[in-house]
Amino acid sequence: MSAHAEAAHDHGHHGPPPANRSSRLDPTTLGMFLFIASEAMLFGAFFTAYFFVRVVNPDAPAEWPPPPYEFPVFVASVNTAILVTSSFTIHWATQSIKRGDRNGLRAGLVVTILLGSAFLLTQAIEYAHVGFNTGDGAFASVFFGLTGLHGAHVFVGLSLLTMAAVRAFKGHFSPDHYHGVEIPGIYWHFVDVMWIIVWAAVYLL
């Protein structure tokens, strides 16, 4: 038992002992870092399946996607632009609260949420008109698997940003206390990075 724990018990403290922590990294940021690392591994598993189906598989189609199917590259590229723009707006929001500009924070969060929602809506429309379904072959399964997994992450990110926006409108953040915006912001950037890779691997290459 650590010295801290002993001291705590000496004073009649109940419950778990205080955690030992390093001064090198903030625990909440470390938590988000480890979470993102685990998420990167999850995406890595899906990318492995994708490249297996497309490259390693001896029955892999010569053309990608196999004719007569086509991916809506233009729509996906517009969606990419929307998501990349949302990274700029969440960055604007975070920088605003660091300067004490609450209106900039609120505006940045609202615009980011709108852009993220537009991305999800466009993806849903894309699914409806793409012309194939999960039962049309392995290529379709990995397509829906990868893009759907990413879409789920966008949804989670939007939920986090919505909570941050509600708090922002209640006046919860200040230049000294903005972790509630920064942590969802880091997650949102991660979602953006993963989409850029998904977009390049699935639609462009």
């Binding site: 038992m1 650590s2 010295a3 955690a19 030992n20 390093s22 001064s23 090198r24 990294l25 940021t29 988000m32 870092f33 993102i36 990349v84 990274s87 969440i90 960055h91 975070t94 920088q95 915006v181 920064e182 912001g185 880091i186 950037h189 991660f190 953006d192 990075v193 850029i196 890779i197 390049a200 462009l204 290459l205």
Partner: protein, 210 residues
């Protein structure tokens, strides 16, 4: 190691770098598939190099505010298990000659990287506590009255943490002899001299010959 997502601004930079890197890979792959693979591997290697520290810059010196004219000489000692040697005792005696001494001994909670990332550091702190208690007892027997605390597993970080509350006039780093000291291999003494604007004395304690 640099954490690429230590804050939102860093993560935003990662987005921009990913965008640029992906554009390069796609362009190269459109020219030739193998070229795209090569560019991808080169960019991955560059990213790993950058995360591991890249071109390391000399860190800014941490300024320690000390009370001038005080008849007390504050000595911050960082040592793991080398407090037992007479070399350290003699040195502390010299440093405090003619003035009263205030010695703070910091014992880093040394932990393996694997344990740091996969578990907690309670075991390391418990072991450091045992070493610290034993070291303080030995110093008391040798006539040096010292206080002690457990520090971060990184001895430099432990020094920096201690200096925030203990504005030392001098730092003493006690290590095993060259060839047997991990701290010397890691350049702890040189890095301490670069990092803190406090005189740093290195004392070698050879426990095997004692």
């Amino acid at each position: 190691m640099k954490n690429p997502v230590r804050d939102e601004a860093s993560a935003f930079q990662v987005v921009l770098l990913t965008l640029g890197g992906t554009a390069l890979v796609v362009l190269a792959a459109w020219i030739a598939t193998w070229l795209g693979v090569v560019v991808f591997l080169v960019l991955c290697a560059a990213a790993l190099w950058a995360i591991r520290g890249g071109m390391r810059q000399r860190p800014a010196q941490a300024h320690v505010v000390r009370g001038d004219g005080e008849p007390v000489r504050r000595i911050l000692v960082v040592a793991n298990e080398t407090v037992a040697g007479h070399e350290l005792r003699d040195l502390l005696g010299q440093k405090a000659e003619g003035v009263s001494e205030d010695v703070l001994l910091v014992c880093p909670a040394l932990n393996s990287k694997l344990r740091t990332w996969t578990s907690d550091e309670d075991g390391a702190r418990e072991a450091a506590r045992s070493r610290l208690d034993a070291s303080l007892e030995r110093l008391a027997v040798l006539g040096v009255q010292a206080r002690g605390e457990i520090g971060d597993g990184d001895p430099l970080q432990a020094l920096e943490d201690a200096l925030r509350e203990f504005p030392a006039d001098e730092i003493v780093v006690s290590t095993h002899p060259p060839g047997r000291s991990h701290w010397l291999e890691q350049g702890v003494v040189e890095n301490a001299r670069m990092r803190f604007d406090v005189p740093v004395t290195h004392v070698v304690v050879d426990l095997e010959s004692a």
